[in-house]
């Protein structure tokens, strides 16, 4: 019977390996969404490094654990002596210092990427591409018009669709209209909470769009519970190949907006 328990515990590392390769084979919703940015590749690489390291530790610990269960099974060994020891100073030092070293290394190793993605001093020196306002339950994007400045009469307002173009530093200002939201583009691997009363900056660059899904179908999600319709805050990221394509879309959208406003008798 004891062997059964050892087998049961052995199912854990085996199952972990199994589901890992199964999910890898499945791809799609069970794996990283295809990345389209450089920062995404950095983040993925860090993920794999940590997975490699923790995976090694995990299988090491599991192997030792299972080996001990097997070797020191007490069945039929009643009355046999055990190793009467209260510990070992050298071992304690060893397994404190080595993990400490690994952990500090891991932490320091993250600094560069973290700084590049989030420190404001690292924000690209470009004008704001758009202002994102989160609200229950939609994303509003305000793009500067021909004058390149926000909050002027020629701005474009769009709901739930963010247009950008490739190889361009995109800088966004994030605000919330009501409660806390979080602007999350899985394909870009970027996420930032929007806190009412605060202005956040976010920047990224789409560098490759060859992955699936189609270039205009990257989804935007809300990652901070914002109410009953939290799951409804679905936006779309459309990546244009060139700036000219983007400008063409912008001109067209502005013309449509002006026409709609004229119809409604809104004069700004």
């Amino acid at each position: 019977m004891n062997k059964f328990w050892i087998f049961l515990f052995a199912l854990v590392p085996l199952g972990v390996l199994g589901i890992y390769f199964w999910a890898h084979a499945q791809g799609g919703a069970l794996w990283f969404p295809a990345g389209i940015s450089e920062m995404g590749e950095d983040i993925d690489r860090l993920f794999w490094i940590i997975l490699g390291l923790t995976g090694t530790i995990f299988f090491g610990v599991e192997a030792l654990f299972l080996w001990f269960l097997f070797k020191y099974d007490g069945k039929g060994r009643d009355g046999q002596a055990v190793k009467y020891t209260h510990g070992n100073h050298r071992l304690e030092t060893l397994w404190t210092v080595i993990p400490a070293g690994i952990l500090v290394f891991l932490a320091v190793f993250q600094f560069k990427t973290w700084k590049e993605i989030k420190f404001r001093s690292n924000a690209p020196d470009v004008p704001l591409h758009a202002r994102v306002t989160g609200g229950q339950f939609e994303w509003r994007f305000r793009y500067p018009g021909a004058d390149g400045r926000l909050d002027t009469p020629d701005d474009l307002e769009a709901v739930n669709v963010l247009h950008v173009w490739k190889d361009r530093d995109i800088k966004l200002q994030l605000e919330s209209r009501d409660v806390v939201h979080s602007f999350f583009i899985p394909a870009v691997r970027i996420k930032q909470d929007l806190v009412p009363g605060m202005k956040q900056l976010m920047w990224f660059k789409v560098t490759h769009t060859d992955g699936q899904p189609a270039p205009d179908l990257h989804e935007i999600a809300c990652a901070e519970l914002c109410g009953w319709g939290h799951y409804k805050m679905k936006g779309r990221l459309v990546v244009h190949e060139t700036e000219a394509d983007y400008r063409a879309w912008l001109t067209q959208a502005l013309a449509k907006q002006n026409a709609d406003q004229a119809d409604l008798g809104i004069v700004e």
Binding site: W5, L11, V16, I19, A23, G28, A29, L30, F32, P33, I43, L46, F47, I50, I57, V61, E62, F68, L69, D73, G74, G79, A81, V82, K83, Y84, T85, H86, G87, L91, E92, W95, T96, P99, L103, L106, A107, T113, W114, K118, Q136, V179, S182, F184, P186, R189, I190, K191, D193, L194, V195, P196, G197, A221, A223, L225, W228, H230, Y231, K234
Partner: protein
């Protein structure tokens, strides 16, 4: 009973004088009891109720994730006849919010600190009772208003709190922000204030009892790990809770008195002006996590203590590295106060601050690693008895390794950008709190049951419960890591409306089925628990041949005052299994006192 005198001598005389000829009514003996053992058992019975409640709420969540917008089985038609029995979108966040709140505040914390803390501490240190028995009774009875507030909040206008167990304002604070924020949130805050009072009363009591009431010879470094862990946990609670209490009261004022501690200027939510403003939503997050991160350790440290006791007993070998283990628990508690910001990496908090929180968070993995290595060291060269408590303790170790290591991904700030608020986090917390704390609780339950009731729980059904729980637990929660890698978001009533995640539904259905089976296996536990009260195998005072003091009471199930006329005298540490002078099966008790119920 008015034995609420703190002085040990007085308690001693009192207990002595009244020991066997003191008639108590049913009401004072079992309901308003001040006896620490009865209170511990009261907590235990209550936890079966709250565990069932929390589990059912979880199954509601799982149902929606497996078969969104379809009729909820059994109760769907009853609850929502107009919608064909399917849960409305407003209800889903109430489920996640209340599942987490019930499980954390009404199951795990009271199970480990309430049930085991009360039952074990005085017995393990050779005391006759807690230092403040009446306060102890109050600590139990404060649980009930909390449960009342949580339950009744489902019936108020708007329904139960729905802003997550983290209750971030303005969503939680502004009445127009969510249906659950209309009234339910106020009930939630009231419930949590009661839980806080309960915890605080308990923790002050534990600290005082351990510092003042240890029996002769019971030095600090002769205390079993369970008591050590509960001691440090109590200190942690005493220091962290006031901050949460303050935050709860501030949110309550925001909601009821028109203040704006967490409300920024000019905020309009759903066309309703949200008050004068001038506050800061992030302030709540800081205050909340300043308590709630240590709370994670409040939920895991006692389980670590229990598991250490159980592993050493059934390995028939001294705990490897006893002092390093104590130091590890203490440093987890100390560092636990310096890591709360890792919940806020993406919150808009200064990213430079995030970087420092990353370093402290990485380092807090260290004592956990040390503990794991020491458990392995305990198994090395041992003689393992695969009893039900031992199996659950071994499961703790093997699950905690996963839960600990997955924490490193989140500690790494850049990786956290992607996995924050995804199912990766849900996987992590459940590996720590279910795989860890709850399996630790199971281990302790099977282990101390004979001391509580003089009978043993059925080993066969105990093992069936263990095997089923262990397999189903992993089937439910391991795939969540995989979902997390795809960015699968938490707290979504319908993630499949996104192309990115629409293919994840079959996996979620499998997980839901496993969750239902997991629930059924808990029925075996409850049945085994209840039936064994009458039918369980009768045992002597020390069926596991353990060394620590609680197994050396004069009666099989200790009576009021625990120790009869003569409190025990401690002569050695709790883990001297297999010492040269030990009995053949490795037993070497902590006390030389030999009582009728205990075989030498």
């Amino acid at each position: 009973m008015n034995s609420n005198t703190a002085a040990p001598a007085a308690a001693h005389d009192h207990a002595h004088a009244h020991d066997h000829h003191h008639h108590q009514s049913f009401l004072t003996k079992y309901i308003f009891s001040t006896d620490h053992k009865v209170i511990g058992i009261q907590f235990l019975f209550t936890i079966f109720v709250t565990l069932a409640l929390g589990g059912l709420l979880a199954l509601g969540v799982r149902w929606q994730l497996a078969y969104p917008w379809s009729e909820l089985p059994i109760i769907g038609k009853l609850l929502w006849p107009d919608q064909g029995g399917q849960m409305p979108a407003e209800f889903y966040p109430m489920l996640t919010t209340m599942h987490a709140s019930v499980m954390i505040f009404l199951v795990i914390i009271p199970a480990l600190t309430g049930a085991f803390g009360n039952f074990c501490i005085p017995l393990q240190i050779g005391a006759r009772d807690m230092a403040f028995p009446t306060m102890n009774m109050l600590s139990y009875w404060f649980m009930w208003p909390a449960l009342y507030f949580f339950l009744s909040s489902f019936l108020v206008e708007g329904g139960a709190a729905a802003a997550g167990w983290t209750s971030y304002p303005p969503l939680a604070g502004i009445k127009s922000a969510a249906p659950g924020s209309l009234n339910g949130q106020t009930y939630w805050l009231a419930g949590l204030l009661c839980v806080g009072a309960s915890s605080l009363l308990g923790s002050i009591n534990y600290i005082t009892t351990i510092v003042k009431l240890r029996t002769k010879g019971m030095t600090f470094f002769r205390m079993p790990m369970t008591t050590w862990a509960l001691f440090i946990t109590a200190i942690l609670q005493a220091f962290a809770l006031p901050v949460l209490t303050a935050a709860l009261i501030l949110q309550l004022l925001d909601r009821t008195m028109g203040t704006s501690f967490f409300v920024p200027e000019n905020l309009i939510v759903n066309n309703v002006e949200a008050g004068p403003g001038g506050g800061q939503p992030l302030l709540w997050q800081h205050m909340f996590w300043f308590y709630s991160h240590p709370a994670v350790y409040i939920m895991i440290l006692p389980a670590m203590g229990v598991v250490s006791d159980v592993i050493s007993t059934f390995a028939r070998k001294p705990l490897f590295g006893y002092k390093p283990m104590v130091i590890a628990i203490a440093s987890i508690a100390g560092m636990g106060f310096m890591v709360w910001g890792h919940h806020m990496f993406q919150s808009g908090m200064n990213p430079a601050l995030g970087a420092t929180f990353m370093v402290s968070t990485m380092l807090i993995a260290l004592p956990s690693a040390v503990k794991t290595f020491n458990w392995l060291g305990t198994l090395w060269g041992s003689r393992i008895q695969f009893t039900t408590p031992m199996l659950n303790a071994l499961a703790f170790v093997s699950m905690f390794v996963i839960g600990g290591l997955s924490g490193i991904f989140m500690a790494a700030t850049p990786v956290d950008i992607f996995i924050h608020d995804t199912y990766f986090i849900v996987a992590h917390i459940h590996y720590v709190l279910f795989g860890g704390s709850l399996f630790g609780f199971f281990a302790g339950l099977y282990y101390w049951y004979p001391k509580m009731f003089g009978r043993q729980m059925n080993e066969f059904w105990g093992k069936v419960h263990f095997a089923g729980s262990f397999i189903c637990f992993n089937l439910v929660f391991f795939p969540m890591h995989i979902l997390g890698m795809s960015g699968f978001p938490r707290r979504y009533a319908d993630p499949y409306s996104f192309d990115t995640w629409k293919d994840a539904q079959p996996l979620n259905q499998m997980m839901t089925i496993a969750a239902v089976i997991l629930g059924f296996f808990q029925i075996i536990l409850v049945a085994n628990f209840l039936i064994s009260l009458r039918r369980g195998k009768k045992v002597d005072g020390n069926p596991w041949r353990s060394n620590s003091l609680e197994w050396h009471t004069p009666d099989v199930t200790p009576g009021h005052g625990n120790w009869g006329a003569h409190p025990p005298v401690v002569v050695r540490g709790p883990y001297d299994f297999g010492a040269p002078e030990a009995a053949q099966d490795g037993y070497l008790g902590q006390t030389e006192n030999k009582y009728p119920g205990v075989k030498a």
